[in-house]
Symmetry: C2
Subunit: 480 residues, 2 copies
C-alpha cells in the first residue's frame, strides 16, 4: 500500500492536541450504546440520558412558538398570507424578508448579518444595560462558538518571539481549550474558587498572569458569566474588579455571556461586562476592549440546532475591527434562519402584541422549571455521601465535586484512564447516564468533578438522580 498524503505523523499537530470533552469518547460510546439498545441489547437501563451537553430540546424542552412561527413564515412566505398565525408573527416575518436580498432568506446576508437584526440586537443591549449600543458593533454569527473563534484568531501570532497567551478559567468550557490548542495559543489557567461558590478572585488572576509572563505574552482574558460548567453568577463587585484587572494589564476581555437569561438563585443577578464598565466611568468606559458573546442555543429558547448568535465589540481599534470583519467575510454569512431566531430573541413580542401572552407564558414556564431543577439537582447531590455541589445560581449545569475511593483511583490508573473518566464510563455503562468528567473542563489537581446538565425534564431528572445515587453507593462499596 502506498503511503498516505495525510498521516497521523504529518497531520497538523494542533489538531491532535485539541480535545473537546463535551463530545469526546464518552459521548461516542453513549451513541454506540443507543444503537445497541435499538437493536435489542439487554442493559440495566432502557435509555441513554444525555446529560453531557446543554441541548435543551433534545431533553424535551419545547420550542417557543413565536420563534418557530416567524421562521416558518420567512421560509414559506405563503404562510404570511394564508395561515392564521398571529399578526405580529406575520409582521416580523415581513420585516425580515424586506431586509433580505431579493426578499428571500435564500440570499446571503452581509457577513456581519442582516442590518435590521443587528439593529434589534443593539436595541436589546441598550434596554438590558441602560447604555447605548451601536449596531455597527454587533456581528451576528453561526452560534457563539464561531464568533469566539474569530476573536481568538486575531491573537494567534507571536509577540517578541513569545506565543500569545489567553487567560481562561479552570474549570472552563472546553471550546476555549480546544480553540487555543487549534490556534497554537497558550492556555493561561486561573482557578475559580470552589469554596466561594466558584467566585473569581483577582489575586488568582494576578498569580496566573505573573506566572505565565515567563513563557508567553498574555493578551486576553476569558470570563464565562453565568458560569459553564460551574453555574456561578458573578457579583457586580467581582465584575468591577475583573474590569480593572483587564484594563490595568492591557488585556482584551472576552465575556462569554450566553447564559445571561439563565439566572435562578435568589439574590443572583446578571450584570453584563458592558454595563459595569460603562458605569465605572473613565478610563474603563472608553478604553477597555471587550467582546461579548450571546447565543440562541441557551436561555429559555434552547434553539441549539439553529446556530444563531452574536457578539458585541466595544472599544476595539476601528482598523482592527475592520480587519476582523474582513476575515469573517470570506465565510460569507451566518445562516439567515439562525439570524431570524436571533431577531426574535433580541426583539421579544411586546405587551399588547398578539403573541405576547403565549410568549410570556412559555418563557416563564421554561425558566421556572429550570430553576426548580437547578435546586433539585444541587440538593440531591448534597444529600449523597462523598458529593459536594455548589448552588446552581445560573446557566444549565451542576459541577459537583466527588470523592473517589483510593482503590477506584488505582483501578482507573490500571486502565490508563483519569479517575473521573473511569467513574463516568462506569456510570454510563451501568445506568445509561452520560455526563462529562471534570478533567474535560479542568479542575485542581487531586480533585474530581463532573458536569451534568440540569436539562432532563423533572420526572426524568428525578429518575436520573435516583439511579445516580444507587450507582455511586455501589461504586463506593465496590472500591472501599
Amino acid at each position: 500500500m502506498a503511503s498516505k498524503a495525510v498521516t497521523i505523523e504529518n497531520l497538523n499537530p494542533n489538531i491532535i492536541k485539541l480535545e473537546y470533552a463535551v463530545r469526546g469518547p464518552l459521548v461516542i460510546r453513549a451513541g454506540e450504546i443507543e444503537k445497541e439498545l435499538e437493536k435489542g441489547a439487554k442493559k440495566p437501563f432502557k435509555t441513554v440520558i444525555k446529560a453531557n451537553i446543554g441541548d435543551a430540546h433534545a431533553m424535551g424542552q419545547t420550542p417557543i412558538t413565536f420563534i418557530r412561527q416567524v421562521i416558518a413564515c420567512v421560509t414559506y412566505p405563503d404562510l404570511i398570507k394564508n395561515s392564521n398565525f398571529p399578526a405580529d408573527v406575520k409582521q416580523r416575518a415581513k420585516d425580515i424578508l424586506k431586509a433580505c436580498g431579493g426578499g428571500s432568506v435564500g440570499s446571503y446576508s452581509m457577513s456581519q448579518g442582516i442590518e435590521l437584526v443587528r439593529r434589534h440586537v443593539a436595541e436589546y443591549i441598550e434596554k438590558r444595560d441602560g447604555h447605548p449600543a451601536r449596531w455597527q458593533d454587533i456581528c451576528l454569527s453561526t452560534g457563539a462558538s464561531t464568533a469566539i473563534k474569530n476573536v481568538l484568531q486575531m491573537l494567534c501570532n507571536k509577540i517578541d518571539g513569545k506565543p500569545s497567551g489567553v487567560m481562561i478559567p479552570i474549570p472552563q468550557y472546553p471550546l476555549y481549550s480546544a480553540s487555543l490548542a487549534e490556534y497554537g495559543l497558550e492556555q493561561v489557567r486561573y482557578y475559580l474558587d470552589e469554596e466561594r461558590d466558584w467566585g473569581l478572585d483577582v489575586a488568582e488572576l494576578t498569580r496566573a498572569l505573573k506566572q505565565a509572563d515567563k513563557t508567553c505574552k498574555v493578551r486576553a482574558l476569558v470570563v464565562i458569566n453565568p458560569g459553564n460548567p460551574t453555574g456561578q453568577v458573578l457579583t457586580r463587585a467581582n465584575i468591577e474588579a475583573i474590569v480593572k484587572f483587564a484594563h490595568e494589564n492591557g488585556l482584551l476581555l472576552l465575556a462569554d455571556e450566553v447564559y445571561q437569561k439563565n439566572v435562578y438563585a435568589p439574590g443572583s443577578e446578571f450584570f453584563s461586562f458592558k454595563k459595569v464598565m460603562r458605569e465605572m466611568g473613565e478610563p474603563y468606559s472608553s478604553e477597555l476592549e471587550l467582546a461579548s458573546f450571546m447565543s440562541v442555543s441557551k436561555g429559555y429558547v434552547g434553539e441549539s440546532g439553529l446556530r444563531g448568535g452574536w457578539m458585541e465589540l466595544v472599544n476595539l481599534q476601528p482598523e482592527v475591527q475592520a480587519q476582523l470583519y474582513k476575515c469573517i467575510s470570506a465565510m460569507l454569512c451566518p445562516t439567515t434562519l439562525g439570524q431570524t431566531a436571533v431577531d426574535c430573541v433580541a426583539k421579544e413580542p411586546a405587551q399588547g402584541e398578539e403573541s405576547y401572552e403565549v410568549w410570556s407564558r412559555e418563557k416563564a414556564a421554561v425558566l421556572a422549571s429550570l430553576a426548580e431543577r437547578a435546586t433539585m439537582i444541587a440538593e440531591t447531590f448534597n444529600s449523597m455521601q462523598g458529593f459536594k455541589c455548589n448552588v446552581v445560581q445560573g446557566a444549565m449545569y451542576a459541577f459537583p465535586r466527588i470523592e473517589l475511593p483510593e482503590k477506584a483511583i488505582a483501578a482507573a490508573k490500571a486502565e490508563g484512564k483519569a479517575p473521573d473518566v473511569f467513574y463516568a464510563f462506569r456510570l454510563l455503562e451501568e445506568t445509561g447516564i452520560c455526563i462529562v468528567p471534570g478533567s474535560g473542563f479542568g479542575q485542581r489537581p487531586g480533585t474530581y468533578h463532573f458536569r451534568t446538565t440540569i436539562l432532563p425534564q423533572p420526572a426524568l431528572l428525578r429518575h436520573m438522580l435516583d439511579s445516580f445515587k444507587t450507582f455511586h453507593q455501589n461504586f463506593t462499596k465496590q472500591y472501599s
Copy 2:
C-alpha cells in the same frame, strides 16, 4: 489615550494578508451607493446590480417549493398536521424530525450531521456515480466553505522546516487564497489555459509543483469543477490526468464540485472525481485521497442563506479522518435547517410522489434560464470590441478578458489601483454594476479580466449588458 490591547501592529498578520475580493472594497462601496440611492441621491442609474456574488435569490431566482415546505414543516410541526402541503413533504419532515434529538430541529445534531441526511447524501452520490459511497464518510457542513477550511487546516504545519503548500488554480475562487493566507499555507499557483476554454494542463501542474518544491512542501491540490470564476467543465480525460498527477505526487485532492448541477454547454458533462478515480481502477481507486465538496447554495437551488453543504472523504487514513471529525466536534454541529435543505437536494422527490411535478418544473425552469443567460452573456461580451469571453460551460460566472487602453492603465497607477480594479470602480460609479476585478481571482500578469455572475434575470441582464457596452465604449474613448 491608553494603547490598545489589539492593534494593527500586533494583530495576527495572516488576517491582514487575507483578501476576499468577492466581498472586498468594491462591494462595500456598492453597499454605500445603495444607501445613497435610498436617500434620494441622483445617479446615472436607479439600482445597483450585484453581479459580484453567486447569490441567486438576491437576483430574483425563486426558491424551490418542496425545500421551503419541508423546512417550514420541520420548524413548525403543526403544519404536518394542519396544512395542505403535499404528502411527501409531510413525510420527509416527519422522517427528519424523527432523526433529531427530542424530535426537534432545535437540538444539536451529531457534528458530522444527522445520520439520516448523511445516508441520503451517500445514496445521492451512489446514484450519481454508479459506485458505492459510505455514509460515515459524508460530513455535513455549514456551507461548503466551512468544510473546505476544515480540510485545509489539517495541513497547516511545517514539514522538515518548510511550510506546507497547496496547489490552486489561477484564476481561483478567493476562499482558497484567503484560507491559505489565514492558515499560513503557501499558495502554489497553476494557470488554467484561457486559450483552451480554461482547460487544465498537467504539464502546467508539473511546472508549478517543481517550482514550489524549493520553498514549501506541496501537500494538496485544489481543483474547481465546474470552474469558478471560469465556467469551464473539465473533460473526463482531463480529470483522469489530474487523478494520475495527484496520485503520483502523493497529494490530497480537494475537488470543489459545488456547481455539479450547473452544466449548460452542449457536449459538456459533469464527472465527479470520485467516479473517475473509481473507474480508473487500481492504484487510484483505493489510494488517492480525496475530499469532495458540495453545497445547497448553488445548483438550481441557490439557497445560499441557509448555509448547507457536505463533503465526502475518500481513502483518508481512518485515524486522520477521526482527527478531522474530532476537530469539527468543538463547533458542535452544522445548522439543522441547512441540513434539511441538504436532505432535499440529496433526495429529490421521486416520480409518482406528490411534489414531483412541481419540483421537476421548477428545476427545469431555473436550469433552462441559466443556460440561456450563460449563452447571452458570452455572446454579448464577444460582440464587444476589446472583449474576449470563453463559453460559459457551467457554474454561474463569466470571466471575460478585456483590453484596457494604455492611458487607462496609467490613470489607474496614478490612483494606486490595479488597472482592473480601477475599471471596476468606474463601472460601478457610472452604471451601478458591481463585478469583481480579475486580480481578486488571479490572472496572468499583464492580462485583465473580471468576473460577473450570470444571475440577473433575463431582462435585467439584457439591460446590464447594454449599459456595460455603453460604459466600455465611453471608457475606451476617454483613454484612447
